[in-house]
């Protein structure tokens, strides 16, 4: 890992704006491409929005932690929350535009815009990590 950025957010919609600001500052400082930044931002927004919309935090004061790790060939983005067990990688299936209007589309987009999704449950927390590969130089 060549650089790490940790952001702790309140479990509220205001947290997403703060996260986007920190994320874009990090990717800008690391010289990451517009395409990689876009995919990371999308992953961050979809994962955090999913926690806010569907999760019930065990500890409302705990908030959500997002960690960015910049590697030579990829960037990892982890979202850690205290809501009930939920593995986004297990949500599969195709969605029609009708389904998109009704919700659930965020995780569909996530699956298709990142290179890998890992999930683990430990110490009462969900930790979802997505990997976005950098383009070849």
């Amino acid at each position: 890992v060549t650089a790490v950025c940790t952001v702790r957010l309140p479990a509220s919609p205001d947290g997403i704006a703060a996260l986007v600001e920190r994320l874009t500052a990090f990717t800008g400082a690391r010289g990451l491409s517009t395409a990689v930044t876009y995919r990371l931002r999308l992953a961050a927004e979809e994962l955090v929005a999913n926690v806010l919309e569907h999760g019930r935090p065990a500890d409302p004061g705990a908030g959500i932690t997002v960690v960015l790790r910049d590697h030579p060939d990829r960037v990892e983005l982890s979202v850690i929350d205290t809501t009930g067990p939920f593995n986004p990688a297990e949500i599969t299936g195709e969605l029609s535009p009708k389904a998109g209007a009704e919700g659930g589309f965020g995780l569909f987009l996530l699956r298709n815009m990142v290179d890998r999704i890992d999930y683990c449950r430990q110490a009462g927390c969900n930790e979802t990590t997505v990997i976005v590969a950098k383009e070849p130089a």
């Binding site: 997403i16 999308l42 029609s96 535009p97 009708k98 209007a101 589309f105 987009l109 815009m113």
Partner: protein
């Protein structure tokens, strides 16, 4: 980036000029403006997306709802969207329901 939207209404065509981010924060305003843009006389709804930097599922959901509310007789044209935004529209299959144009409004 902040979100701005302007509405231009013609006889049969309504044009919505969008700039900034179509995300979870801007979605309520976008949905409201798109609902106002559609009148019984609207035959064509043009969304100028040249200045749109980013769109998430929340933004796309607004476009899909507008399409559903407009009905089959209204043509929806998305103009000037950047490649990442077009990728998301295509992933949703929404490119089958609208016209995507790279050019000027």
């Amino acid at each position: 980036m902040s979100f701005e939207v302007y509405l231009g209404t013609g006889e049969r065509t309504t044009t919505v000029y969008l700039s900034g981010d179509l995300d979870i924060a801007s979605a309520p305003l976008l949905q409201s403006v798109l609902a106002r843009a559609l009148t019984p006389d609207t035959e064509r709804l043009v969304l100028d997306m040249h200045e749109v930097e980013y769109m998430s599922s929340a933004g796309l959901r607004c476009l899909i709802v507008a399409h559903q509310n407009a009905g089959a007789d209204v043509e929806i044209v998305l103009v000037g969207a950047r490649s990442e935004v077009v990728d998301i529209i295509r992933l949703a299959g929404f490119d089958q329901a609208v016209t995507i144009s790279p050019g000027l409004v």
